[in-house]
């Protein structure tokens, strides 16, 4: 039976037809516009997809809803969209989300412009009875005359050929894209066109698009959006599940992200005063799962041991064939990855900061949904991924939020009490990763949270003085610590436990990689190789003190307060003064790849030069993980 669903967001309303018994989340996914958040993938575990039933009929609340929603909230009509099922015509409402404040700056790179994709204007002789050669050879010869020998194309791709058959006859100027020895795309040329490219950082949470002018290397426009796959879950595992379990899931996820990138590139081009079909190259750097989903290749085997991806190498394709553009000119470069869990985003980041060229040993940490860590330098690189979980992205935290307007991003203590700042300076609506870390650091320092992570009891809190004690509260689930009592924003005991797990994963990853370096990087020679070739099996790991620099990449890494990160034990204290904020280094790497063949090769070399360390099977990692769950003692 069919019913109507009306969704209200602020002043906006949208409507759709739904089936009786259908899940509300599935129905809401079909409405365009602002995506609904479902970090747990719609399994009734996280409580983030809450909506309020204004009128109409839904199935009775399930047990999981009674756990995640208070009785007062249930009475007001709040429900979890993933568990509630349509039982009649209805109208639901949800809070509007602010604009995402996603960090998209990257390091500026000094590059010689030598693009891997060349866009060239050619005019073909129409042919005659004396010269009956086919258009294909005519086009290849015309392009070869304009290019250095090593770039001359040998092959015309089918989408280009289809355009060629018609266009060649009327003697018009044609614009052709040449990449990887092939003519990827072709269309009629126009007067006064520009040659643009887009570097895409394809994150599980966020997509960032950088539009760049190929002639000058200047970045003309930047934009970022939350990944439109996120109603299928916050992390790569839930996306893989969705692709495998939902009928047509893989194609749905592929189509969503491809059309989102296509739209972002077109909007960026328009913002720069150009047309979308002046973009001749889109270079994409994402984690391995995102790259598989974008290519429409099943990532299923990535999700379980032994974690085998279908592909990792650089691919050059027609952007139109991938759904990344609706015009035939554009080429797409899918940048190379290192393993199932250290993807093209990390390789591009390593290439952007030039990790493989640096002397000494550097740590490179991308603090996204997955915490990827690389360690090394020109002697060799080790890389690993840690399952930090999405706590630092706000998922799995009761009052957690992504990096959006209104998220508490910084917390500190002043004489007269606790203070905080929000993204955009608007009233607080939740807490994001950097705020979470600051808050725990503050609560550790004032004694409300013990080293073990336990929130002290009411008696212990009162010994800390009335101002501090007033921050402690309780609800039906146990003790909590207020950040803003009026707005109902607090950290629960379970939130602190989730943060302990997340920070322990990163900290243990750092410890394990550094410990591995002496044995695994031993074959390389160099001043920092330490114990060196055939040295004693690493009983004594090079400590964090021997690390020359620490690059923090990712949006969250840029907002992070290093002192707070050290205070909670996320980063080793000895590295506090060696931190270099690398910003969105994968975005910077993707832009650089559009501009320079050397950078595409550098991404590939970063992969070949790195050894992947699988942490989950290592006993030393598991030991370090448990050790790192405690907070460092108060100094």
């Amino acid at each position: 039976m069919k019913h109507s669903l009306t969704l209200r967001e602020g002043r906006r309303t949208r409507e759709t037809v739904v089936d009786a018994g259908e899940s509300l989340l599935a129905a809401m996914r079909r409405l365009d516009g602002q995506e609904i958040e479902a970090p747990c993938g719609g399994r009734g575990l996280c409580g983030k997809c809450r909506v309020r039933l204004v009128e109409g009929a839904l199935s009775p609340p399930e047990a999981a809803e009674r756990v995640l929603l208070s009785s007062a909230e249930l009475a007001e009509g709040f429900r979890l969209a993933c568990l509630a099922r349509i039982a009649g015509d209805l109208c639901v409402e949800r809070a509007q989300y602010g604009e995402a404040a996603i960090v998209e700056s990257g390091r500026r790179l000094g590059l010689v412009i030598d693009p891997p994709v060349r866009s060239l204007v050619v005019r073909l002789a129409p042919g005659s009875l004396e010269d009956q050669g086919e258009d294909e050879s005519r086009l290849l010869a015309a392009l070869a005359a304009l290019l250095p020998a090593e770039l001359a194309p040998q092959w015309v791709e089918l989408p280009a050929l289809r355009v060629l058959a018609n266009a060649a006859r009327d003697g018009q100027a044609l614009r052709a894209t040449v990449a990887a020895g092939r003519v990827i795309g072709l269309r009629k040329a126009r007067e006064g066109e520009r040659d643009l490219a887009a570097g895409i950082d394809l994150g599980t949470t966020t997509i960032v698009c950088h539009l760049v002018e190929l002639a000058t290397g200047e970045v003309l426009a930047r934009s970022s959006q939350l990944n439109s796959q996120r109603s299928f879950g916050a992390d790569v595992i839930s996306r893989i599940s969705a692709a495998a379990e939902i009928p047509g899931g893989l194609e749905e996820l592929r189509g969503r992200v491809a059309s989102q990138i296509s739209t972002m590139v077109a909007l960026a081009a328009r913002a720069a005063g150009a047309q979308a079909d002046e973009v001749s190259c889109i270079a994409v750097a994402g984690n391995t799962t995102m790259m598989h989903l974008l290519a429409g290749v099943s990532p299923d085997a990535i999700s379980r041991s032994p974690f085998i991806p279908a592909f990792l190498k650089t691919r050059t394709e027609s952007a139109m064939a991938l759904g990344l553009a609706d015009h035939p000119l554009c080429a797409a470069i899918l940048l190379p990855g290192l393993s199932a869990y250290v993807g093209a985003d990390i390789a591009a980041g390593m290439a952007a900061i030039g990790l493989a060229e640096l002397s000494g040993r550097s740590l490179f940490i991308d603090l996204g949904t997955n915490g990827e860590i690389a360690f090394g330098g020109r002697d060799g690189i080790l890389a690993c991924a840690t399952a930090a979980g999405p706590a630092f992205e706000g998922a799995g935290i009761e009052k957690g939020s992504g990096g959006v307007g209104g998220a508490i991003e910084a917390v500190w203590m002043e004489e007269d009490g606790l203070r905080y700042g929000t993204i955009g300076g608007v009233p607080a609506s939740g807490i994001c990763g950097s705020g979470l870390i600051d808050a725990i650091a503050v609560f550790l320092d004032c004694g409300l949270v013990e080293d073990s992570g336990r929130i002290v009891d009411a008696g212990e809190a009162s010994a800390l003085g009335p101002k501090i004690a007033a921050l402690r509260g309780e609800n039906e689930r146990g003790p909590l610590l207020h950040l803003d009592r009026d707005r109902g924003i607090y950290l629960s005991q379970a939130d602190i436990r989730a943060a302990q797990l997340a920070k322990a994963a990163i900290a243990a990853g750092i410890t394990t990689l550094i410990a591995c370096a002496d044995t695994m990087l031993a074959s390389a020679s160099g001043p920092a190789a330490g114990a060196g070739l055939g040295g004693p099996a690493s009983g004594e790991a090079a400590g964090a003190a021997n690390v020359d620099r620490l690059f923090l990449a990712g949006g969250f890494g840029s907002l992070l307060d290093v002192r707070s990160a050290v205070r909670i034990g996320l980063l080793p204290p000895s590295l506090a003064d060696r931190v270099i904020v690398a910003g969105n280094s994968s975005g910077a790497g993707a832009v650089a790849a559009c501009l320079s063949r050397t950078m595409v090769a550098a991404c590939a070399r970063a992969c070949e030069f790195s050894t992947y360390v699988e942490l989950s099977s290592r006993a030393d990692f598991n030991g370090a993980y448990v050790d790192a769950m405690m907070f460092p003692e108060r100094q």
């Binding site: 047990a63 999700s303 041991s305 989950s616």
Partner: protein
């Protein structure tokens, strides 16, 4: 404080050597081995389990308490054997095929041992066949399967099917657990029990064994 209370208190603080010394003192005082186990060591572990359920203690404290329990058990084991004290039941535990997550499974194992169950740990990446073979070999009462990923939890269904195929399904209780596991998932794959945390899993396992005993 009595010696048994000392044992419990030292265990809760994770002090392995003091726990062992207090156990030895209790033996010298002539306290029955079964009482030292149940009213000393297991009582302490039970308090840790309850605190873990309420998030008051966390993984590291449970692990060091479990280490103290194992150290405290050393001088007691021969006495338990000669006194004929039997375990309350036998559990085969493992993380399912394709999943390498260890820590959650280890917590469940420790909580179960803390309740006096015999636990055979098959480790991680355990196939359905290995669960079945181990259940036969050890005449297990319970199979406890762990999975942390939504992509590997489907493997639990294969374990259930494996026991059906071996004709052992009605003789064995299958428990499932891990972050993505819900009661409705448990029911949907035909498993018997799921628990929200390690301590509840141990309680449930003891209840199953008490019923079948």
């Amino acid at each position: 404080m009595s010696t048994l209370e000392d044992i419990s208190a030292f265990l809760q603080k994770g002090r392995a050597n003091e726990t062992k010394a207090a156990v030895q003192k209790a033996i010298e005082e002539g306290i029955a081995a079964k009482d030292i186990l149940e009213k000393g060591l297991m009582a302490g572990m039970s308090i840790i389990g309850d605190k873990f359920k309420r998030n008051e203690v966390y993984v590291p404290e449970v692990l060091i308490a479990a280490r103290a329990m194992n150290t405290g058990l050393e001088p007691l084991k021969p006495l338990l054997v000669s006194a004929g004290v039997k375990s309350k039941g036998t559990v085969i535990i493992g993380t399912v095929k394709g999943d390498l997550h260890d820590i959650g499974k280890n917590l469940v194992k420790m909580m179960m041992e803390g309740k006096g169950l015999k636990v055979i740990d098959l480790g991680v990446d355990v196939s359905s066949d290995r669960f079945v073979a181990a259940a036969k070999e050890h005449e297990a009462d319970i199979i406890a399967c762990s999975a942390l990923l939504t992509t590997t939890m489907t493997e639990m269904k294969n374990v259930v099917e494996g026991f059906k195929a071996a004709g052992m399904r009605d003789r064995i209780t299958i428990m499932v657990g891990g972050a993505p596991i819900t009661d409705s998932f448990c029911t949907s794959i035909g498993a018997d029990l799921s628990s929200p945390d390690a301590a509840s899993a141990a309680d449930a396992a003891v209840a199953v064994c008490a019923k079948s005993a």
